[in-house]
């Protein structure tokens, strides 16, 4: 996917208040919960999985966004490298300001030797400036361990500039299996139509189908982007991201109309329209996967894979999959044997070819200074061995095809990672590419939740088109 390539070169800082830091925090917290769950599952054989590295010595500076528990896990990834090469890795966790920090460091002339950024646009921009090194001489044929959907995102003028270390999947709908069982649903929906039909069945059984995290704009944008990707396909998605398709085009209308089939049914939404506009993250997750002492209020929550940390944080009783702890039936009561599971965000029946195009995010490593130690570190980060270590610890999915699926601690994480590895197209969040009108886009999406009627959609589209034109200049 060439999502970031179409960008007009302006690099946006990621300084956002509230909304964004929550976004980040959620993934930052992703490990806290999973760690406890996974700790018991780390096999003793891990150390033998380290790659054969030769002694190099010296030191290398490394920046990434991970702090606190994620930093601990990442350092666990780094320690075999340090032990075997004798290289001292000086790691610095920059939190959610990673992009800004990198831009500032490059402008100031003192970037780290290696950095991992959560945004392929940063990689392309730095490649344009000549600030980073092409990686073909460094990682060689191991580049093919990654799907072309991933490599294309960080390829500039046919040269690969980044290697993906971590991926996150937004193509997920999380459901409480016990709530599905209450409605007699035996399988998860494969098409959008089936999803709506199942929602109707849930409603008839007295179960509210969805808890939407839509008190603010970005989760609505993520949801809409999923629908657009599934209805219009990845090529159109990239074109819309670069505003080469108008916001008034039929593909946009189709996505809005499709999503209106869900949003326009207030009885499917926990709290109706009013309640959805006050349902914030992570409470929206807690309403489907509550803490012991309360019961679920809805069956599904449409969110990225980072919700797992919230779920297992609510209670260690939650078991991944559709069978409860020690083989018992999944219960709605979180104090007994509750479960959690996900199914991929389904495309409409007529657009099934878009099912393997997925929206997500990830962290990509790039090389600023080609010292021997830095090159070895980048090669190591791109190797399956590095990914495997964090995979065992949980809360991590690698886009690297060579990381064996058996390294993941549970079937749900495994399925999640498998989706990432097998994606034919991988797109990043489109709203992050919109520059100065991104907050307006979020607002427009909220207006759509407030009123998803056809006339409202057409007026929202016109507004978005004029905002995009004013902001992007075309």
């Amino acid at each position: 996917m060439t999502l970031r390539r179409g960008e007009n070169g302006t690099q946006r800082g990621r300084v956002r208040l509230g909304s964004f830091s929550r976004h980040r925090l959620s993934s930052a917290a992703a490990l806290a919960g999973l760690l406890a769950l996974a700790a018991s599952m780390v096999p003793a054989s891990i150390s033998t999985a380290s790659p054969a590295l030769t002694h190099i010595g010296g030191s290398v500076s490394l920046w990434a966004e991970w702090t606190s528990t994620e930093q601990q896990d990442f350092e666990a990834v780094l320690s075999p490298f340090e032990a075997e090469t004798g290289v001292n890795v000086i790691y610095s966790g920059k939190g959610s300001n990673m992009d800004t920090a990198i831009d500032a460091a490059v402008a100031g002339g003192a970037p780290p030797q290696v950095a991992l950024v959560p945004d392929p646009g940063t990689v392309i921009n730095l490649a344009k400036k000549g600030a980073i090194q092409p990686l073909a001489p460094v990682i060689g044929s191991e580049a093919s361990d990654y799907g072309s959907a991933w490599n294309n995102l960080v390829t500039y003028k046919n040269k690969l500039y980044g290697v993906w270390f971590k991926g996150a999947n937004k193509n997920t709908i999380w459901y409480n299996p016990a709530e599905f069982a209450m409605a007699g649903l035996k399988s998860t929906p494969k098409t959008w139509q089936q999803l709506l039909a199942d929602a109707a069945t849930l409603k008839r059984a007295g179960v509210t189908p969805f808890s939407l995290c839509t008190d603010i704009g970005w989760p609505v944008a993520d949801l809409w982007q999923n629908v657009y990707l599934k209805t219009a396909g990845a090529t159109n998605y990239d074109a819309l991201a670069a505003h080469n398709i108008a916001w008034t085009s039929p593909t946009v209308t189709k996505a809005f109309d499709t999503l209106a089939g869900l949003i326009g049914q207030p009885s499917y939404l926990l709290g109706g329209t009013k309640g959805s506009l006050a349902n914030s993250y992570p409470e929206c997750v807690d309403k489907v996967f509550p803490k012991p002492g309360t019961m679920p209020q809805a069956a599904m929550v449409i969110e990225a894979d980072f919700v797992v940390s919230e779920i297992v944080g609510n209670s260690a009783n939650y078991t991944a999959g559709t069978t409860g702890a020690s083989g018992k039936k999944c219960t709605a009561d979180p104090s007994k044997t509750p479960c959690y599971d996900f199914f991929p965000f389904p495309a409409p029946a007529a657009d099934q070819m878009n099912n393997s195009a997925i929206q997500g995010s990830g962290d990509v490593a790039m090389l600023f200074k080609p010292t021997k130690a830095a090159k070895a570190l980048v090669k190591y980060l791109g190797s399956p061995e590095a990914g495997e270590i964090w995979a065992h610890l949980g809360g991590f999915a690698s886009p690297n095809k060579m990381v064996p699926l058996t390294s993941y601690p549970d079937p749900v994480t495994r399925a999640d990672a498998q989706e990432l590895q097998q994606a034919t197209s991988f797109v990043f969040s489109l709203d992050d590419l919109q520059g100065s009108w991104e907050p307006s886009l979020w607002q427009d999406m909220l207006n759509f939740v407030k009123n998803p009627s056809a006339s409202s959609i057409s007026s929202i589209e016109k507004t978005m088109q004029s905002q995009a034109t004013a902001s992007l200049g075309h």
Binding site: G206, G271, S436
Partner: protein, 471 residues
């Protein structure tokens, strides 16, 4: 502001002696450090801001007035301006009046210091902390938000919820599954007419099974016929084992207990009422000849109070049918009023203290003279105290006008998303922040808006300056 004030004091103090020049040099020397600071952190950034407002987003290309044009080409700036107007019209007046009332009252009560301390305390907290508290107070869920909990308690005295409250977005008609149709005013009616000796089955879905188990529901059981009576069953017509079957009664389907029913005669008037038992069965005895329908009364489904969305975008003025521009200009979103309430709590103590200081400096003889002349308390307050306090009240008022023209902190804290540009609670200052440092980083637009905000603050600032220097 400081520049002018310093200059004028300097002018007033200027000596006219022979050592004029030396004094001049000396005072200049003293002025230099302050002047450098002012230049570096006020004057230069101000000039830079004006300059940037004519440049593009990354400050690399001169674009003339196009930033100003694009600011006024969308409704976003109008919404922000409207919110600033709402703040300026509502807040300074109310906070001044409250400050005055508190100040006057605190003079007449015991424990005045304790009272003043409590009222003044909020100003000590950071606005972010206060906002967090108010975010909780304003929560939609009455179990969390204390304001909605109060409204809920009062509301339920007048509108007691039914045994089967509808969930949000649900209608009674959507519950009707078999043998039931929508009736008048949110009630349900049996689809068939019956006469004495006959029996009915009415299937409902869409009700949470836990609601039924709380009411002690038992598995549904068909009613037997009884001579002279109309009998029947109302049951949860949803079986997990047969989710699509809507005629049979399965062992996992419960009856609807405690459902209030009415028997409607041929004219449609209610002739008898009854309730269902734990099995969902009902029994109207001694039924006259003729055809009847059974009505499930709407009160069964009366939803409970689900909370007012205090931090929501809904407008207090009916503008939903107007054009986008008219909406932007004429809406008064509830969130603005909620924010103003929270901000009053923060600032009332400050205005009280300032007004109390003014009160303390008043010439008591005048007040006493008015008492001697036979004026009532109210007359004294209105005709003597207020006019004498007018200068203080004006300063408080104008200071608060300037304060809310730049309103920012509470706006972004209480309305994380609705304060984004175009959001219902956005203000000029929050727009400046989000345009300049939010997702987009467009220094040109942000600077242009900052210049507009500056132009709006200038009149109030000059007014205050004039008052200060006029003393």
């Amino acid at each position: 502001m400081a520049v002018v004030a310093v200059g004028q004091q300097q002018g007033a103090a200027r000596p006219s002696s022979a050592r004029h020049g030396q004094h001049h040099l000396q005072s200049l020397a003293f002025l230099v450090p302050g002047a450098i600071l002012l230049l570096a952190i006020v004057i230069w950034p101000a000039i830079a801001t004006i300059r940037y407002s004519f440049y593009n987003g990354s400050a690399t290309k001169l674009v003339g007035l196009s930033n100003y044009k694009s600011l006024f080409s969308t409704a976003d700036t109008l919404i922000a301006l409207r919110n600033n107007v709402i703040w300026v019209v509502v807040f300074p007046f109310i906070v001044t009046v409250i400050g005055l009332v508190f100040a006057v009252l605190s003079e007449r009560i015991r424990w005045a210091t304790a009272f003043k301390t409590v009222i003044f305390l909020p100003i000590v907290f950071s606005v972010t902390a206060s906002s967090l508290v108010f975010t909780q107070i304003f929560q939609l869920d009455p179990h969390v938000g204390v304001l909605n909990a109060i409204v809920q308690t009062v509301d339920e005295w007048f509108n007691p919820p039914g045994a089967y409250p509808l969930s949000a977005g649900q209608t009674a008609a959507s519950l009707a599954t078999s043998g039931v149709v929508a009736g008048p005013h949110g009630s349900l009616l049996s689809s068939k007419t019956v006469r004495a000796g006959e029996t009915l089955r009415m299937g409902l879905t869409g009700v949470d099974p836990s609601t039924l188990s709380v009411l002690g529901a038992r598995p549904a059981r068909a009613s037997s016929r009884a001579a002279g009576s109309i009998t029947g069953l109302v049951w949860r017509d949803f079986s997990i084992s047969n989710p699509s079957d809507i005629t049979g009664i399965y062992p996992d389907e419960d009856g609807f207990p405690n459902l209030r029913l009415a028997l409607l005669g041929p004219s449609g008037a209610s002739v008898a009422t009854t309730s269902t038992n734990a099995f969902g069965q009902f029994h109207f005895s001694n039924v006259a000849p003729g055809l009847f329908r059974v009505q499930i009364e709407a009160s069964n489904f009366q939803p409970g109070f689900s909370g007012t969305f205090w931090l929501g975008p809904q407008s207090l003025t009916p503008t939903s049918n107007l054009s986008q521009t008219a909406q932007a200009l004429l809406s008064v979103p509830l969130i603005d009023i909620s924010m103003i309430l929270a901000y009053l709590w923060i600032w009332a103590g400050f205005t009280m203290v300032v007004v109390a200081a003014g009160l303390a400096a008043l010439d008591r003889e005048v007040v006493e003279a008015s008492h001697v002349d036979g004026a009532t308390e109210w007359q004294t307050f209105r005709l003597v105290t207020i006019p004498m306090l007018a200068p203080v009240l004006t300063v408080v008022f104008v200071t608060m006008v300037i304060n809310v023209l730049k309103i920012f902190d509470i706006v972004i804290n209480l309305g994380i998303d609705s304060s984004q540009p175009g959001g219902q609670s956005s203000t000029l200052a929050s727009d400046v922040y989000y345009l300049g440092f939010g997702g987009g980083v467009h220094t040109g637009l942000a600077s242009a808006l900052a210049v507009i905000l500056f132009v709006l603050v200038v009149p109030a600032m000059l007014f205050n300056l004039k008052r200060i220097s006029g003393r």
